[in-house]
């Protein structure tokens, strides 16, 4: 209703512009309408803004609430075990000795290994979709397929890993003369790598598509080949975006639980090689939480969650530092 009237006013005013008669007749009516509309606009505007603020505050409260809960709940373990918890190498619920070191190593090792494996794939996909085939049915199909990888539930990756990947890795291990278990750090990293590819790939693709064409065209006009354009124009221009994608993938890899716990072997020993079984912080918590029957045990598990939380935060802070350095250059 409102808009139609407004449109009339506008069209009429447009018609009259030529003769400069606009201010004559509908002046009063028009201004009243403008005022009533702007009151409503202000209300909506304020309401919307308030909603946004509330949501934002809720997020902050949530994160800090989780952080506080973790700290409070892990106080018994911090009191009993002290800072030695972080580099303790034994996790022995029977003796009530808890050391997070093997799991810390396991988490970092699987995540970074997965990242190294996934980067060539995710960057290749990002460049292919962003630069070579930005449009068209094939490109859409590939794009949707990559995004589907992120939508598959992790327990399915776990099963797939156990049924398909483990035998392949085992026969590979047979050839290179390590104990042919099939499961372990390496297999979990492979699974994780597959799971995190879409994060860096999608972000990288949209970044590459955002590179202004004058830049690229300039390079082409100077006689650069496609590869040279990618290397010296697109990648430098998008490096912070690509790095943000990597960071996103890493965050996903650090927290992944189900798929990892199914193929990592779940031992509390420090892995001697990347083919050895190990354990991650997330999978220890998932495994042992239900039957943790002593206060310190339960608290040690929660402290493990706190450590995981802090590791994630620290890695993200370092990552952001690197990104801002990239951007300032």
């Amino acid at each position: 209703m409102d808009t139609s009237i407004d449109n009339n006013v506008i069209t009429r005013s447009l018609e009259n512009t030529a003769g400069n008669y606009i201010l004559k007749t509908p002046e009063k009516v028009k201004s009243n309408k403008r005022i009533s509309r702007s009151y409503r606009q202000i209300r909506t505007e304020n309401g919307f803004r308030r909603t946004l603020v509330i949501m934002a505050i809720a997020m902050i409260v949530l994160v800090f609430g989780i952080f506080l809960t973790l700290i409070v709940q892990s106080i018994p373990s911090i009191k009993t075990l002290g800072i030695g918890y972080l580099w303790g190498k034994t996790w022995d619920p029977v003796q009530n000795i808890y050391g997070a070191f093997p799991f810390l190593i396991g988490t970092l090792l699987t995540s970074f290994l997965a990242l190294i494996i996934s980067i060539p794939f995710s960057f290749a996909i990002a460049i292919f979709l962003g630069e070579y085939f930005p449009k068209g049915p094939i490109s859409n199909f590939l794009k949707n397929t990559v995004e589907l990888i992120a939508a598959v539930p992790s327990v399915i990756y776990g099963f797939w890993g156990l049924a398909v990947l483990v035998p392949i890795v085992r026969s590979f291990e047979n050839k290179i003369d390590v104990p042919p278990l099939g499961i372990g750090i390496f297999t979990s990293s492979l699974i994780l790598a597959v799971m995190i590819i879409p994060y860096a790939a999608s972000l990288g693709r949209s970044m590459i598509q955002m590179v202004p064409s004058p830049l690229k065209e300039g390079a082409y006009s100077l006689g650069a080949t496609r590869y040279e354009v990618i290397r010296s124009v697109i990648l430098p221009y998008t490096k912070s975006g690509l790095f943000a994608g990597i960071l996103l993938s890493l965050g996903r890899a650090l927290g992944e639980t189900m798929a990892v716990t199914m193929v990592i072997g779940n031992t509390s020993l420090i892995p001697k090689s990347i083919f050895a079984p190990g354990n991650t912080m997330a999978s220890v918590i998932a495994n042992e939480f239900t039957e943790a029957d002593r206060t310190v045990y339960l608290s040690a598990l929660i402290e493990l969650g706190l450590v995981l939380f802090l590791v994630t935060v620290v890695i993200n802070m370092i990552g952001k530092r690197i990104i801002s350095k990239f951007t300032n250059e």
């Binding site: 996903r252 002593r294 929660i302």
Partner: protein, 373 residues
């Protein structure tokens, strides 16, 4: 500039996602905390509705309990809401008085006993066994194991299947030179508790180095989540050996070893040999581990699952009617209910165990007076 801002925004989103990802676990924890309060509400509600009893605990006994309770419901119209959240969880729920009974595969430890607001009693419900399953396609005969050899395998001292110690007890069996891969439970479980209790009893070295518990620090081997996880590892890995519940092994047609018991006989794990294992002198409080049983025909790696209730049933405005219903249900479980064990591959209680369970139930009181006459 715009692009930069967008990148920053995305990074922030990434940060939030990463945190959300790593935190999803704790939200589980959080919900279980909320669940507690909710459950206590529902108890309060259910206390009004005296026709629904609440229980929580052991996942092992869950299939049997479901069958028993649905049969009991048909004849007596009493509903039982049993949540299989794990023995430790069940004990916690009982401690918080949010359930009428808990169920556990292990007796209360000292800390748990101390935390109970009033004394709780253990009532045996059924017995289960833990079997050693292995993956040796070349071996057609059933493998035999002695306690000493079993402990050495799980301590990582015997690493090949054709080790002289294994060969000595399996004369005539051609053992392959495959390396032994050990599979154990990665999640805390009553099954692990029974198994490690047994190993602690038969091997001093195990007791010193590892000990017993629902999760222990395994010296060697791979962990699988749940019976299905361990079974998966065994089926997949040539030369693997691991421990799983008897009922799971039977249902999935897995090969399992004969164990030598205390009397020196090699016993095939079966429902009958587990019931036999429980036919021993049982202490009045029923807090006994059946592992390494004295019974000559008993399978040595077995244990009870207990229902846990407070000895004094009058607490938190509970009605006398509610406690009578609870005790009648448990009484029915140890008598008529036992007929459903066999079909589900649980071992029925031995006569000795039923006698102790009866005495335990009779000792329960409401306001100082016995509930069952």
């Amino acid at each position: 500039m715009n692009a930069t801002k967008q990148i920053k925004g995305l990074t922030l989103a990434g940060l939030a996602l990463a945190i959300a990802g790593s935190m999803s676990l704790f939200s589980c924890n959080g919900t279980s905390g909320n669940g507690d309060t909710k459950k206590s509400d529902s108890t309060a509600n259910a206390a009004g509705d005296d026709n629904t009893l609440l229980g929580a605990g052991s996942t092992f006994i869950y299939p049997l309990f479901s069958k028993m309770f649905s049969e009991y419901n048909k004849t007596n119209g009493l509903k039982v809401n049993y949540q299989s959240i794990g023995s430790g969880g069940g004990i916690l729920q009982l401690t918080n008085k949010t359930v009428d009974f808990g169920a556990s595969d292990a007796v209360l430890n000292d800390e748990q006993t101390a935390k109970m607001p009033s004394p709780a009693i253990h009532i045996p419900m059924t017995a289960g066994a833990v079997v050693l399953s292995y993956n040796l396609p070349e071996v057609k005969d059933t493998l035999k194991l002695t306690p000493a050899v079993l402990a050495d395998i799980f301590l990582g001292k015997i690493t090949k299947w054709n080790d002289a110690k294994i060969a000595a007890i399996n004369k005539g069996v051609k053992l392959p030179a495959t390396g032994i891969v050990i599979a154990h439970r990665s999640d805390g479980s009553g099954t692990s508790n029974i198994f490690t209790t047994y190993l602690s009893k038969v091997s001093e070295e195990w007791e010193k180095k590892v000990g017993k518990g629902s999760s222990v620090n395994w010296p060697v081997g791979l962990g699988g989540k749940g019976n299905e996880g361990v079974a998966g590892l065994i089926k997949q890995t040539p030369g693997a050996v691991g421990y799983i519940e008897l009922s799971y092994a039977i249902q999935n047609g897995m090969a399992y070893a004969k164990m030598q018991n205390k009397a020196g006989n090699f016993i095939t794990p079966s429902i009958a040999s587990v019931t036999a294992a429980a036919n021993i002198q049982i202490p009045a409080d029923a807090k006994v581990s059946l592992t390494n049983t004295e019974a000559a025909e008993g399978y040595p790696i077995s244990g009870f699952t207990w229902a846990l209730i407070y000895k004094e049933q009058k607490y938190d405005n509970r009605s006398a009617d509610r406690s009578t219903k609870l005790l009648k249900l448990l009484w029915w479980n140890i008598h008529e209910g036992q007929q459903y064990c066999q079909a589900l591959n649980y071992a029925p209680l031995s006569p000795a165990a039923v006698a102790v369970a009866e005495a335990q139930l009779k000792s329960a009181t409401y306001d100082g007076k016995p509930v069952l006459q």
